[in-house]
Point group: C2
């Protein structure tokens, strides 16, 4: 019975897409993404992939997380610094120093005294936001407590109000630790969100990317027992073996990923299904989804 | 400078509260909760505390999570079953079988064949929702993608539309695993949310409580590598030593907690500060907060 329903839904979705609208789809969102044509998937440039290799775990297993850095016009000041830090191998031998439950995992130099490489420049707080895109916001949603609206722009979750837009703190997003303003952080201290979207941080801290693979190696680390989830002892910290841009790795070691274009018909159907689940498990569709409940599908490149 | 601002805010808040309104408060939300008078804290009845003792970790350290069960009118069919299961010591020797990143930790009988104790009764799906409360919804918010509105009622996050309301899937909330409808689950299979609020589950599964202590022992468990985060091998599962109602434990072993009343002036000030952070780190207040970003403060009883 379930298989028959799913096949029927495929026919419906196909007819609807040819008419340029999004029809109700009884497939699960993941099924819709998996069935998207190759043309709807976008290769992620190796120069936008930051590869984080933690020290192996207690059983000797490798632990790699991969971060996709944001494209322009987002946060390019900090991202330039991050490229410089990775090329200088600055993070090698640093550590994960803070894991706060339902909040963030943070890494960098625990001593806060390691000199930064040449070429690190402060990024202005004006780069926390961008000009509101004139068009191209997918899964646009005005019913949000946080702003005039939210949605996905060029593959990234944004909020917007007036003539400005900004990336938002969804699960897995990566941001730049900082001291009190006017400091904006250099990019040397980074964190990843591992809990419910802490949207109060939006526009207050720079976001620079998101974890697209291996987040479990960060999110399942032991929580720190000191204030803000910092570890009490150095022994509790997880060492970072190396952090590199994928484009700086030998071709054979270079990971490759692609993401579902948020401008595609497949993504529109996927987002609609995230907001209105009709697959077999569900009785009542939610009728909507906040932007952090529409994660962009990512997969290893084929 | 920060200390001076904080002292000034205390005076402001006090004046505003005596006039019955919520003034802007420059204290952090946690500071507001910590300063709440004793009368604003409500003791949680021991018969509503479900104590989950996992097997000790590899270093021999105890791992205890404590779940607060919902009061009436929420989900009392499943909660009656959960009391029966705990009294029958049914969970002792079962295990955590599934950990899916940014989603749920699930526990129960991995064989799915262990007989249930006498007295377990199916709960009707009508108990997924309750009648809309006529009043008493704190941090009420109409700007939500999910319903007509959301807020906190008698200490619990709810959504509502028309004449019905329902508890919502925030981080830490505990729900009842089930098979396809019309099954509603017995309460023997439970899960806790460990990621961004999966609001598409609201009204589709019974919620019965929330983890109020020790969630890190669940959220930091290794993720399962099979579909839906199930573990591949029995050895990966975390054994459950015992699950008891606190009221069934000897007085000396009984944990005790209290929560900040969502009907109190302190909670109103706390919720306002969650939506509009003015403490030193923040430059731009968010201007709002979804209900899952207003977690109810809980502390050990004093």
């Amino acid at each position: 019975m379930i298989a028959i329903l799913a096949a029927f839904a495929l026919v419906q979705a196909s007819a609807a897409q040819s008419q340029g609208r999004v029809a109700p789809d009884a497939r699960a969102p993941g099924e819709i993404a998996a069935a998207a044509p190759a043309a709807d998937w976008v290769s992620i440039d190796a120069s936008n992939l930051l590869v984080v290799d933690l020290a192996p775990d207690a059983a000797g297993r490798a632990r790699r997380a991969v971060i996709e850095l944001m494209p322009a016009p987002f946060a390019q000041g900090w991202i330039a610094n991050i490229r410089t830090l990775a090329s200088a191998r600055w993070w090698d031998g640093t550590s994960v120093n803070r894991v706060q439950d339902n909040y963030v995992v943070q890494w960098g130099d625990a001593t806060e005294k390691k000199p930064l490489p040449a070429g690190i420049r402060p990024a202005p707080a004006t780069q926390y936001t961008i000009a509101l895109p004139p068009a191209g916001i997918a899964a646009r949603e005005a019913r949000t407590p946080y702003a005039a609206g939210e949605g996905l722009y060029r593959g990234w979750p944004i909020g917007f109000a007036g003539d400005r837009a900004w990336p938002v703190h969804c699960y897995g997003m990566v941001g730049v630790g900082r001291n009190l303003a006017p400091d904006t952080g250099s990019g040397a201290e980074l964190y990843a969100v591992i809990g419910h979207a802490p949207r109060h941080l939006d526009r207050n801290i720079a976001l620079v990317g998101r974890v697209i693979a291996g987040i479990e190696h960060l999110s399942s680390l032991p929580r720190g027992t000191e204030a803000l989830g910092f570890y009490k002892t150095a022994a509790e910290r997880t060492p970072i073996a190396r952090i590199r841009l994928a484009s700086d790795l030998p071709a054979a070691e270079r990971p490759a990923f692609e993401s579902l274009s948020t401008d595609s018909a497949s993504f529109r159907a996927y987002a609609e299904a995230r907001a209105n689940r009709r697959d077999a498990f569900f009785n009542v569709p939610a009728g909507g989804a906040d932007v952090c409940n529409v994660p962009v599908p990512v997969r290893p490149a084929r």
